[in-house]
């Protein structure tokens, strides 16, 4: 009797375990999308925040802080900011600011009542800094007034040409999208012809032993870590591009294309070859019996009947190239600009995420997740294409 329960238990156990994959995928979708859509939905903070440096005692809008906290949040609808703190010998610094909430230009939103005793500067967008010379050198007293950033427009995000995440807080990713697309397409144009020639040769002309050797080599090529490809590209391909074209720096779109083409070779070759091997022998025999040569049969029969597998391989190659990160960072140069020639430095979506996540904070960090969402949507579209092709293959 016990055994029966054990059996039932294991049945449910395996079913539960298998749900982990589904849950993981769901969690990935929810978390990345939720974080990535945040900048387009809400403002960065409900109201104005103050960050205070080297000031011991401060009164804000009548409220006195003896131990000034790291950050002071004002009420959402605060119409004015009045700052008072003791300075020097029984003196007092006074700043009165009117908040003009309807003003769209962040720089003009704060109106100083009279000329403030402080030096006013605008270190980054949405930040106004008031500075007074310190009692000691290097101990300048500062109050940073941080205005909330309004929701970012998705159109400006996708179509924007400028990526100035820290100073101007402008987040336009169009150059990166273009960079990703160009690098991937370039890699496909360079890599796919070679890959198809190899696959057809391995499937149709090579004897078993050399074919097994070639397959082993291609598996090894697939196993080399992407960082090693990037390193190899930096050491060999980048200097080669520099010397051949006589340009100042070899970190260019072309270098990225060459490295990516190398990296997608194994993917395309493996899938194309296996779908070519699956073409039924009777089709080839029919072609040969009609007097076609072996080469004609290979090109007209095998390649034609394997086309859906070949296309699936190419699409998988594209999605590999789109998602590749470390190899591209090392060779592409990474300037966030729109490229007009293959000899310019380029930055991809993935490179932006990996390079800037280390120091990004606030909306900048959220925007990196938004880039992840863009990438995710591109990959999901490619994946669904592959799934559809696979289904088509099963039917045939």
């Amino acid at each position: 009797m016990n055994r029966k329960y054990a059996d039932r238990f294991f049945q449910y156990f395996f079913r539960m375990v298998s749900l982990v994959s589904v849950l993981a995928l769901g969690a990935i979708l929810i978390f990345v999308f939720a974080q990535g859509l945040m900048p387009f939905v809400g403002a960065t903070a409900p109201g104005i925040r103050l960050v205070v440096q080297n000031i011991g005692e401060l009164a804000v809008n009548g409220r006195v802080y003896r131990n000034v906290p790291d950050s002071i949040s004002l009420e959402e609808d605060a119409r004015f900011i009045s700052l008072r703190f003791p300075s020097g010998d029984a003196g007092e610094e006074v700043v009165d600011i009117e908040v003009n909430a309807d003003e769209r230009d962040a720089r003009k939103r704060l109106v100083f009542a009279r000329n403030p005793s402080a030096k006013v500067s605008y270190p980054e967008a949405y930040v106004v800094t008031l500075g007074w010379p310190g009692l000691m050198a290097g101990r300048d007293r500062k109050i940073h007034i941080i205005l909330p950033e309004p929701p970012y427009s998705p159109v400006e995000f996708i179509g924007g040409m400028q990526w100035q995440p820290v100073r101007d807080k402008v987040f336009g990713v169009f150059p990166m999208i273009a960079g990703t697309v160009l690098a991937s397409l370039g890699a496909i144009f360079l890599g796919v012809p070679v890959a198809l020639l190899c696959a057809l040769f391995m499937a149709e002309f090579l004897a078993d032993r050399p074919a097994a050797f070639a397959r082993g080599a291609i598996e090894l090529l697939a196993g080399i870590p992407s960082v090693v490809y990037g390193f190899f590209g930096l050491m060999v391909i980048v200097p080669a591009v520099k010397n051949v074209f006589g340009i100042a720096a070899g970190n260019t779109l072309l270098s990225a294309v060459v490295v990516l083409a190398l990296m997608i070779l194994p993917t395309v070759i493996t899938i194309a070859e296996s779908s070519m091997r699956a073409v039924s022998l009777s089709l080839k025999e029919a072609s040969l019996s009609l007097g076609a040569s072996k080469m004609q049969t290979a090109w007209h029969i095998t390649l034609f009947h394997a086309h859906s597998g070949v296309i699936a391989g190419i699409i998988l190659g594209i999605s590999r190239a789109v998602g590749e990160t470390m190899a591209v960072i090392l060779v592409a140069g990474n300037s966030p600009q729109l490229v007009f020639s293959p000899l310019e430095s380029v930055r991809t979506l993935t490179a932006t995420i990996a390079m800037e996540m280390g120091y990004a904070s606030g909306r900048h960090s959220e925007m990196l997740f938004s880039i992840g969402v863009v990438l995710f949507i591109m990959i999901l579209a490619l994946n669904s294409l592959i799934l559809r092709l696979r289904r088509g293959m099963d039917v045939v």
């Binding site: 395996f14 994959s21 990935i28 057809l200 870590p225 960082v227 190899f232 995420i353």
Partner: protein, 279 residues
């Protein structure tokens, strides 16, 4: 006719040349890295601390990440493969499961990194640590383990299961005592393939494990894996000596990859032979 023969020969030549070219590129990469690394790559290099120009902390961190992520992923992956081969009919759950696994396999590693950073580092509060990275990577290698194990389970002959069931065992006993042991070779292969993925992965590791150069004592500390060390040396360091270390690190990584490839080849062959004998 002559023109045909000539054209066929030309095409044959082009195809042979492109395959030889691809293999030559592989050979060039391997030879180039090993020749440059030859000066500094040694046992001492692998077992010296970072301050003395070695990579011991990176080796230790990589091992930690590999062990923890395999320990998490292997049971789940095997369980899922067992469910897919032994229990599933053609229910909607199975269809959803298959799509989920396909999709997981296609997600680029940097997105796993973003997810891991959000979920394990921030939401669950692990911070940048080995455990956060291992959790992230364990999801990433799940499709590899599931697919390979599933192949192995499928290749266990049905007669084995029938023989066991006819002796009066229950289904779960058959799975644990007959099916899984017969598929052991394939399961080990899947684990080795997954180890290869984990060792070579870099983008998600950079986001979740971090850059700390110390030898980690527990899995809750940050560390630096071999791949990240190589990235850091080439991209951010300025010291000219670093390139020697970078080559040696790249050489170490390639050696690991070659070893893993050879091991899976040997195992697959052995596994196929033993299957052949049994059935």
């Amino acid at each position: 006719m002559k023109k045909r023969v000539f054209l066929d020969g030309l095409l044959y030549g082009i195809m042979a040349l492109s395959l030889c070219g691809v293999i030559a590129v592989l050979g060039y990469i391997l030879v180039y890295i090993f020749r440059q690394a030859a000066g500094s790559l040694s046992f001492g290099f692998i077992f010296r601390s970072a301050r003395e120009g070695g990579i011991l902390p990176m080796v230790v961190t990589t091992l930690y990440v590999v062990v923890v992520s395999i320990a998490i992923s292997l049971p789940v992956g095997i369980g899922t493969a067992v469910f897919l081969t032994e229990y599933s009919g053609n229910s909607s759950l199975v269809r959803i499961l298959r799509v989920a696994i396909e999709t997981l396999a296609g997600i680029p590693s940097i997105i796993y990194g973003l997810f891991g950073l959000l979920m394990f580092c921030r939401f669950l509060g692990f911070g940048q640590s080995i455990i956060a990275g291992a959790f992230t990577l364990s999801i990433m290698i799940l499709p590899v383990i599931i697919r390979t194990t599933e192949e192995a389970l499928k290749s266990v002959p049905v007669s084995f299961r029938e023989g066991s069931l006819s002796l009066g065992t229950t289904k779960s006993q058959t799975i644990f005592h007959v099916v899984l042991p017969s598929a052991l070779g394939g399961i080990v292969t899947s684990a080795i393939l997954a180890i290869g993925r984990v060792v070579g992965e870099s983008a998600p590791v950079l986001l979740t494990v971090g850059l700390s150069r110390n030898i980690p004592r527990t899995v809750f500390e940050s560390g630096r894996t071999l791949t990240i060390h190589l990235y850091y040396l080439t991209n951010e360091a300025v010291n000219p000596d670093d390139f020697g270390i970078a080559f040696a690190t790249a050489g170490t990584l390639v050696m690991v990859v070659v070893a893993i490839n050879t091991l899976t080849k040997i195992l697959t062959r052995k596994f196929k032979n033993s299957q052949g004998d049994a059935s």
